[in-house]
């Protein structure tokens, strides 16, 4: 490899290939290995070993203090029959769906409008992105007051137009709608900017051709914009699936004022208890580290399965 003296080659030929360090063997590259080692060392200590250990842990009973007891598959057996875990999956998916579909729709509409309205585009982009950079804790506190049962802004609005008040944070559906509204508010602008970037790659000739053929705006959207946006849509859907199914801070902060027993309980009737919230409750409230580890692997499986299903759905639609 390093037999050809580099200096004899013309500079342009050298420039074609990535730089090769002269010298033989792995040891001669020690500087390169040293430069990438911090990441791998950190990953080893706080990633690989913990993940391996959590698999080991899920086959044991452990309270974090005493000695570990071998439990075989019993933690997973219990998990399969644990109605609390299944209901937390249900809660998570309902909240995810309530947040994601309106969010994707609104983000796409916003992106299409931003793509045609040229003036003040940067002002809009800045303002729409703002909700996403604020901390979930601050946002959840603000939304907690907006959805508060007595004297919350939402109920004041309902009262103003003559409708009955809703105990938002005390009813199963109210809780889910409040969490989903918060997520939609925080992520619509972010995804609109991603869709906008996708829209800007659509060649303008396509739109010209459609207009010449007499296509209206709706037809243009479904025949040109949507198909061209499919890769971006896939990205947005997968990212929202992976992050949305692991929601934790939103329900935790929003519902800790109405939670009676624990800050991880997910509000009245556990209606806002997501999968990750349930993991926290089992692990850090009950100190059931073995079962907590099994729950974590269960969540991982659900997220992977759901991501694959979403991926397939969007892909297959593309082939038709």
């Amino acid at each position: 490899m390093a037999t050809a003296p580099l200096l004899e080659q013309p500079p342009t030929a050298v420039a074609e290939a990535p730089t090769v360090h002269p010298g033989k063997g792995i040891l001669s590259h020690w500087r390169l290995y040293a430069a990438i080692s911090p990441f791998y060392l950190l990953f080893l200590c706080f990633g690989l070993i913990p993940v391996g250990f959590s698999l080991y842990l899920s086959f044991h009973r452990w309270d974090g203090l005493g000695s570990m007891e071998w439990a075989g598959l019993s933690q997973y057996q219990y998990l399969l029959g644990d109605s609390d875990f299944w209901s937390s999956i249900g809660n998570t998916i309902i909240i995810w769906a309530l947040a994601t579909f309106p969010m994707i729709f609104l983000a796409m509409v916003t992106a299409v409008m931003l793509n045609s309205a040229v003036r003040f585009k940067n002002v809009y982009r800045f303002a729409y992105f703002l909700p996403n950079v604020t901390s979930i804790v601050a946002v959840a506190i603000i939304f907690g007051s907006v959805f508060s049962t007595n004297f919350g802004l939402m109920n004041a609005l309902l009262q103003a137009v003559g409708l009955d008040q809703v105990a938002w944070l005390n009813t199963p559906w109210g809780i889910k709608v409040a969490i989903a509204t918060l997520m939609t508010w925080q992520w619509t602008g972010y995804n609109a900017i991603i869709f906008l970037a996708g829209l800007q790659t659509v060649p303008t000739e396509l739109y010209e051709a459609a207009r010449v053929d007499g296509a209206g705006p709706v037809q243009t959207f479904f025949r040109i914009t949507l198909p061209m946006l499919r890769p971006t849509l896939l990205f947005v859907l997968v990212v929202s699936t992976v992050t949305g199914l692991q929601s934790f801070a939103e329900p935790q902060v929003l519902l800790q004022t109405t939670a009676n027993e624990s800050t991880y309980s997910g509000g009245p009737d556990h209606a806002g208890r997501t999968m990750v919230l349930y993991f926290f409750q089992q692990t850090f409230d009950n100190n059931d580290f073995g079962y907590g580890a099994a729950v974590a692997w269960g969540i991982f499986l659900v997220v992977v399965l759901f991501s694959i299903i979403n991926w397939r759905l969007v892909q297959r639609r593309g082939e038709e």
């Binding site: 500079p11 420039a15 290939a17 990535p18 730089t19 360090h21 792995i26 590259h29 500087r31 390169l32 430069a35 990438i36 990441f39 791998y40 950190l42 990953f43 706080f46 990633g47 913990p50 250990f53 959590s54 916003t110 409008m113 309205a117 040229v118 003036r119 003040f120 940067n122 809009y124 729409y128 992105f129 703002l130 950079v133 604020t134 901390s135 804790v137 601050a138 946002v139 939304f143 907690g144 004297f151 004041a156 009262q159 970037a197 996708g198 692991q246 934790f248 801070a249 935790q252 902060v253 800790q256 004022t257 800050t263 850090f284 580290f289 907590g292 974590a296 692997w297 969540i299 991982f300």
Partner: protein, 278 residues
């Protein structure tokens, strides 16, 4: 061409809808300002207050009486700044290696890193807690800083950036001048990837500033926490939240973040889009 699209009746309708969206985005911030300037009794009255009141200083005093606000803010700054500096250094150094050098195991190591990217946080959470308890880090900021000091996202991002930004001619010229690895990194690579570093730095700072789940577990001493955890404590667990006070805290906690975002907004919003469609 550009001006035609944005004018006329259709343009007005478009901007009307966009402004409504803008108001919806901004309203919760305005609502927080209103609440932080009223007493709790004023907030809990009908009809709701829609203009700022005059009790901001009173709420501020309650806030400072109830939590060690500046202590928590110092902790948050310490964590966010330390992590940002470490991430910028370690990630760009590793990215430089992956982008511009050939060495045995390069492909395998890079693929491994991308796989790591996919592992969800809670899978490692319990053992991480146990390991850090053994190391004596639980309850200290070390537990937040060390595991975050390098990450796969940043290395991947900087590698993509460096591949196109650092020309091979430049690398060859510097090597012919006798520059070693570290000098190439410092004098050739870093100066040309400043915009990429700016994006990664702002992104990292904001992520660390807002981080909540892991600090909530790892910072077991309630008197020594980050700002987000302190705010969450204020929110109360028994339905007795003093909203005026909490809102004042939430707003103050936003200030450093908004400053950083305002500085880097153009960079972040522009690069986010590019990354997603790559």
């Amino acid at each position: 061409m550009a001006s035609i699209k944005g004018s006329g009746r259709r343009g007005i309708a478009l901007h009307t809808v966009l402004v409504i969206g803008l108001l919806l985005s901004a309203f919760p911030f305005y609502w927080a300002v209103i609440m932080s300037t009223h007493t709790s009794t004023e907030i809990f009255s009908y009809p709701p207050k829609l203009v700022p009141g005059s009790h901001f200083l009173e709420n501020l005093r309650h806030l400072f009486d109830n939590i060690d606000f500046f202590g928590s803010m110092f902790n948050s700054l310490l964590v966010a700044v330390s992590v940002t500096v470490l991430v910028l250094f370690f990630d760009s150094l590793a990215a430089f290696v992956f982008a511009k050098f050939q060495f045995p195991g390069r492909r395998v190591l890079f693929a491994l890193m991308m796989a790591i990217f996919m592992v969800p946080a809670q899978l490692a959470a319990i053992p991480q807690f146990v390991i850090m308890a053994k190391l004596g880090w639980i309850g200290t900021m070390t537990a937040l800083i060390v595991p975050a000091a390098a990450n796969a996202f940043g290395i991947f991002w900087m590698r993509q950036y460096m591949k196109s930004a650092i020309h091979d001619e430049l690398m060859d010229a510097s090597r012919l001048d006798g520059a070693g690895f570290m000098r190439q990194y410092w004098h050739v690579a870093l100066p040309v990837v400043r915009p990429g570093l700016a994006f990664l730095g702002i992104f990292t700072f904001m992520g660390q500033w807002n981080d909540y789940a892991w600090p909530l577990i790892a910072l077991t001493n309630p008197d020594n926490v980050t700002l987000q955890v302190a705010l969450s404590q204020l929110n109360g667990t028994h339905g007795t939240t003093d909203y005026g006070m909490v809102m004042t805290g939430a707003l103050l906690a936003l200030v450093p973040l908004l400053i950083v975002f305002a500085i880097g907004a153009r960079q972040i919003i522009g690069d986010l889009g590019k990354g997603a469609i790559r």
